[in-house]
């Protein structure tokens, strides 16, 4: 009788151990903005500063990763003014382009066509409708008005990359 009771309790113990096992998990969206390549200006002539490699500049590249589809939109803009510079006598004309250099999935091939432009063309909005990564380049050029030479000194311009939850 004792043996039967011990055997029964062991079997019940094993059964109850299996019955209480559960696995839970949550999926949380997040967006990451990464500066893959820090850009810098080249100075091909006295009145131009440009990130173009042909003029000894470096185009910055930003990596934007969204882990969940349709959770974020990415806004990237090229600079439209210097954040710091020597005193300038003339106005400065900024031009630039924001473009997707590559993407982690072929599903994202429609991002460029679906993107919208605001802020007089300086800011481009990409709707991150798929989970994954896009690599965005931000080229910019600054020309001193009247083709006057830029005074010597330090020039800093800031490109902006934003991830806004939708």
């Amino acid at each position: 009788m004792k043996k039967i009771l011990i055997t029964m309790s062991l079997i019940l113990g094993v059964v109850s151990a299996h019955a209480n096992t559960s696995i839970t998990g949550t999926v949380e969206s997040r967006c990451e903005v990464v500066t893959d390549i820090s850009g810098y200006f080249g100075n091909p002539n006295a009145y131009t500063l440009t990130t173009l490699p042909a003029s000894n500049g470096q185009i910055p590249q930003i990596r934007i990763t969204s882990t969940l589809a349709n959770a974020y939109k990415a806004l990237v803009s090229y600079p439209t003014s210097f954040s710091s510079s020597p005193s300038l006598s003339n106005s400065v004309a900024f031009t630039g382009t924001v473009a997707i250099a590559s993407a982690s999935s072929s599903d994202m091939s429609g991002y460029a066509a679906a993107s919208t432009v605001t802020n007089n063309g300086a800011m481009r909005t990409y709707y991150l409708t798929h989970a994954g990564t896009i690599y965005v380049t931000v080229a910019s050029t600054a020309i001193h008005g009247g083709n006057k030479a830029f005074p010597g000194g330090q020039y800093v311009a800031v490109a902006e990359a934003s991830c806004i939850a939708q």
């Binding site: 949380e28 990464v34 931000v138 910019s140 800031v158």
Partner: protein, 123 residues
Amino acid sequence: MYRSVILLLLLCGSALAHDMRPTYPSWQISHIPDVKVARMELFNKRADVEWYEIGVFDVNFKPLPFVSRYSVLKIPYLTQVKFDVYVTEANSIGAEYICSISKLQASEDNRPLVSSKICSRFK
């Protein structure tokens, strides 16, 4: 050799990132009457940035008044900081976004720097 190459790739891949969670926060009741609180986390993987400014905005990105420990947080490289954002109950209705914006220091070179901004949205 392989190990050093992999380590280099990992360091390059995560050296300059900025992320904030949760994506969709919610206002909670705080210990202060008529004041709501949202709890956020900010992780700094940008080696070139140590300071992040916090802001609360309405649907048109108009800034709204809020209180936090600091409006500009010092977050050392590879550090995660949890912070609370307090707004009045009236402002919590119109608040749409909490954003963190990297604060850049002047560079010594003629570099166009990259500013990053991440906004979470109340739904």
